[in-house]
Subunit: 238 residues, 6 copies
Amino acid sequence: MRPSGRTPEALRPVSIETGIAKHAEGSCLIRIGNTEVLCAASVEGRVPPFMRNQGLGWVTAEYGMLPRATHTRGDREAARGKQSGRTQEIQRLIGRSLRAVTDRKAMGEMTVTLDCDVINADAGTRCAAITGAWVALHLAFQHCVRTNIMSAIPLRDHVAAVSCGVANGEAILDLDYAEDSTAEADANFVLTGSGNLVEVQATAEGAPFSEAQFLAMLDMARDGVAALVLKQREAVGG
Amino acid sequence: MRPSGRTPEALRPVSIETGIAKHAEGSCLIRIGNTEVLCAASVEGRVPPFMRNQGLGWVTAEYGMLPRATHTRGDREAARGKQSGRTQEIQRLIGRSLRAVTDRKAMGEMTVTLDCDVINADAGTRCAAITGAWVALHLAFQHCVRTNIMSAIPLRDHVAAVSCGVANGEAILDLDYAEDSTAEADANFVLTGSGNLVEVQATAEGAPFSEAQFLAMLDMARDGVAALVLKQREAVGG
Amino acid sequence: MRPSGRTPEALRPVSIETGIAKHAEGSCLIRIGNTEVLCAASVEGRVPPFMRNQGLGWVTAEYGMLPRATHTRGDREAARGKQSGRTQEIQRLIGRSLRAVTDRKAMGEMTVTLDCDVINADAGTRCAAITGAWVALHLAFQHCVRTNIMSAIPLRDHVAAVSCGVANGEAILDLDYAEDSTAEADANFVLTGSGNLVEVQATAEGAPFSEAQFLAMLDMARDGVAALVLKQREAVGG
Amino acid sequence: MRPSGRTPEALRPVSIETGIAKHAEGSCLIRIGNTEVLCAASVEGRVPPFMRNQGLGWVTAEYGMLPRATHTRGDREAARGKQSGRTQEIQRLIGRSLRAVTDRKAMGEMTVTLDCDVINADAGTRCAAITGAWVALHLAFQHCVRTNIMSAIPLRDHVAAVSCGVANGEAILDLDYAEDSTAEADANFVLTGSGNLVEVQATAEGAPFSEAQFLAMLDMARDGVAALVLKQREAVGG
Amino acid sequence: MRPSGRTPEALRPVSIETGIAKHAEGSCLIRIGNTEVLCAASVEGRVPPFMRNQGLGWVTAEYGMLPRATHTRGDREAARGKQSGRTQEIQRLIGRSLRAVTDRKAMGEMTVTLDCDVINADAGTRCAAITGAWVALHLAFQHCVRTNIMSAIPLRDHVAAVSCGVANGEAILDLDYAEDSTAEADANFVLTGSGNLVEVQATAEGAPFSEAQFLAMLDMARDGVAALVLKQREAVGG
Amino acid sequence: MRPSGRTPEALRPVSIETGIAKHAEGSCLIRIGNTEVLCAASVEGRVPPFMRNQGLGWVTAEYGMLPRATHTRGDREAARGKQSGRTQEIQRLIGRSLRAVTDRKAMGEMTVTLDCDVINADAGTRCAAITGAWVALHLAFQHCVRTNIMSAIPLRDHVAAVSCGVANGEAILDLDYAEDSTAEADANFVLTGSGNLVEVQATAEGAPFSEAQFLAMLDMARDGVAALVLKQREAVGG
């Protein structure tokens, strides 16, 4: 039995509210259980220097956590003067995941920056950020189509992410904080709407895990992502 | 006529929603027009080194703005590696304002940190932060009383803040972004519930201003703060 | 009675010695009691990037304190690797104050940087810096006129600053260190030669202060600034 | 056909030379094709503050690349003043991988730091670093046993890593630079000597990849790691 | 003929004014030609951590240059966020030079920090700083003797420094800026009052120089330092 | 008798192995006793901004030490976020020394960066770095000649360096760590193949030293450098 009473393959309740960041071209607040992440997409009419003159767009992400998103207050990264390795690792993951389903040629030389800021954290923030960022990105592209900057939405597919873990030797889906801090293994799966893999990250927290356990997690992740994709579809009005 | 159609002495609509930061001992989301600031109070059972062994508590604040709280996306301070002078100036102002009405002796050697994070900005964010932070602080002290950490709420008075300006030679209250960017003078007044002054900051943006204009702003600020104090009272259940 | 034996409205002895920084286009050492600030103006024939192609000049300031300007040695900001929030707040104040009386259109696209470095500190360093920086700026503009870079000195008025405070419930002018560290309120007034306000900053150090106390400080500041303007006039040969 | 003429499942030539860092308790230079990483283990008789009084040891890693380890010279991270996100991500991976096979209770409160510095880079540096760091760690533990600091070597198993990729739709093992820069997917597998998984990281570089491709990579990785474990065994004299 | 009309072996006019930094235990303003350096000594009753419990004192120095000490304004190091390599090199040289003549055992576990800040620069600032810092240090030790912190002044000898160079193939003493920027070789000699060597730094600016040229510089430096030592003696009242 | 049994004027065994950094235009591993420094030269077809349009080339150096090059592990400078003053001082010395023998006009507007990374340290690392960097630079210039970027090798002479010291009052050549940490004086001499001086740095570690001691060190350094120049000649195939 899981601390929350969920079955091993049960996702927490998911909701996606759009239009939260009033100035952003696209935005949403995604809630997965008690985890809440504000995702805002900003469109800019040029690409960073290293991407210039290639005829391709750029999609990138930044991630942050409000100091009191967590049980005990964390240091503010701006005050400490640098982003932690964890923050940088997560924001690079979000950017890569979105680029994997974006038709950057169709975008033209434009940049979309996704700001993913965690308002409340109860584990799974990077997965929530990827799932919500796709919605904000889609909304921003809708804005570009409406304003005739683009002729069609340059996204080839959905992308969404979910965490899995091994607890008491058994695979479980979508860990909350209580589970995350005691799991024997921890994995994040980023998948497309059509079921292909964009990113797999699995880590033994204590003892190494077996291939069978890994494959059980991968199966659960498929179902979890399918459910998240339905929520994304509703949020973007599709 | 003001861009928003308000009269010179009219405040924007104000609302204060509590309990937003689920882990914080006290929190609220304050909305003043389109400006939205999330204020979260974190209680810690010790004071910073420079305050030790004096039998006094400490109240401090940190301030941040989500990158897309503004019309065009701003740099993330954590990514740039330092807080701007403006950020530091604001967070010191919030801390000073709250300490001016706190009975730090009655607190004992505890620290409350107020995190004020701007979700949406339409001018007046530092004033909204002070007004909301008082609510978060009061709620955190309520928590301390409920859990027998303190015997009474160690606040001597309300404190709230409002901006004023001079536009076309005339004093106006509670500037929004359109006004803030064209005002001839810009002032922030931090006052207590009983009408005393905690902080006055007035700056000529172009030509210097007259004493008469300054005094007109001060009068308007009194009324604005009185209205904000009523909203604070409702929010903390008093 | 004040620690120094001064009456409440008495300024400390003031002197302004010009030509201290041999390479600078304008410079002075201003002494107000035991506070000594070296102000040097550097003229450059271009404006910073954010000001380009607007046909306006730029006046900015940097502020520093020698490590042993104070009773106990302070950290060298260059060694710590960053300027404190206080330093940044002060240098922005100096810059704003000088820009308020400068005809930036008449300057053309030139920059003057005012370096204000505190040699000895006995409170009131930011006010002394503003007062001295105006002299250095005027001298630098004289240099520009002499060398035919400008046709007239692009200053509309004097600007000078003085601190006030509340001690034992009574307003006092131009606090020294002994007073500054115990005052109940602390204020800085930046005024023009013609008596208008450029900046007002008043802060309760303990309990909030009353409007009557605030107005008494403002009255004293007027007289103090008038006296400083006379000293400025002598220093620039007017 | 691969650029190097290797078959899809062929590892590059591997050699491990020990004793390179003369002052280190354990060290080796691992060569995998043209990739060369110097791994040095430093033993210290205490743990970092966050690990104290738990009766457990600590194993951690730092990673660096000499500026001219690459085709074109890279910036020196010490000169730029910070480690890149990539560097931090890699050194955390190395540390986690080694801790997964270390009996930290048997270590006692000691720290071993593994410095992994890339002398020449031809892709696969993080995998080479993990594989070489295990050797350096084993040698350092041998030193601790010889000097009676430990009674037995506190390692439960080997750990080694290898990269895989998808090129032209087909899985390949141990990518060199030419392959790494064009692969459709890129994965790193960290496995134990007994075949369990410690870490899996797979990333789509362009289009998402299929589960079948992923499983083909995992199979190749098993064989690759088995070969590396034999080389480790020789190097530590086992 | 030198630009200033001096003979090859002529020092510029030297003056040392004491008591400039009002709060410092010892201070002086040393002028060598148009070079002016303010040297302030701060005494502290403990040593830095790495020196503790050895029964020895510590003497250290920090060096800075006001931004407009030079012909064109230089960046403020505090604003850039780091001290240049040149600054660090100079302050380590000043510290080493003073420690070479200090009886650190007789000092006891106390620290003296010498702040050397260049007000006006016309070459030779590091040499002026060493020469002036010795005076500030001596005055600070006098203060310690007067206040019974020390029983005698713990200095074994004078130490002073002078620059030399090679211009048009000929050795010259005490270069000013015009000479310094064109010299073929540049050397700094730090010598004691009794004529021993504390530090020699000689650098070819263009072509390498000969041993004969080097020895000619060393001879001139001896005479220059002897003259500086007389000035030091007057300044400390001896 | 020296700890190593060497006579006062004996150099440690020297070897120079070329071609270590596979991607570099020139490289070598220089070993002097147990000191090992990897020197890699990188050629770039442009000069830094401050050197542009002068028709001159640029030669510069960076220096680093692997954390476990020393008896006890040192902090990694990239992790600490800045290079120490010592590192900066050394890399500037290496750059100056090489530029003194380079015909920068003949180079054209190209840059060569010498990376000198210490693999094992047993004193004398900066001298080894200079001596090895000259070899790497020569090899890189050979590469430029072979690829028709330059018509001849733009080096006017060899440059090499050796340390000397005073131990028990007597001059000694090429100190190892045991000697370096106890020497009364420490000097580095950088000389050309033809015997001229490029840089002299001599420092009293305790008591000041005499001119006679200094001249004895200089004599030994001449012979030491002559031996190093022979090794350089062999290494570059000359």
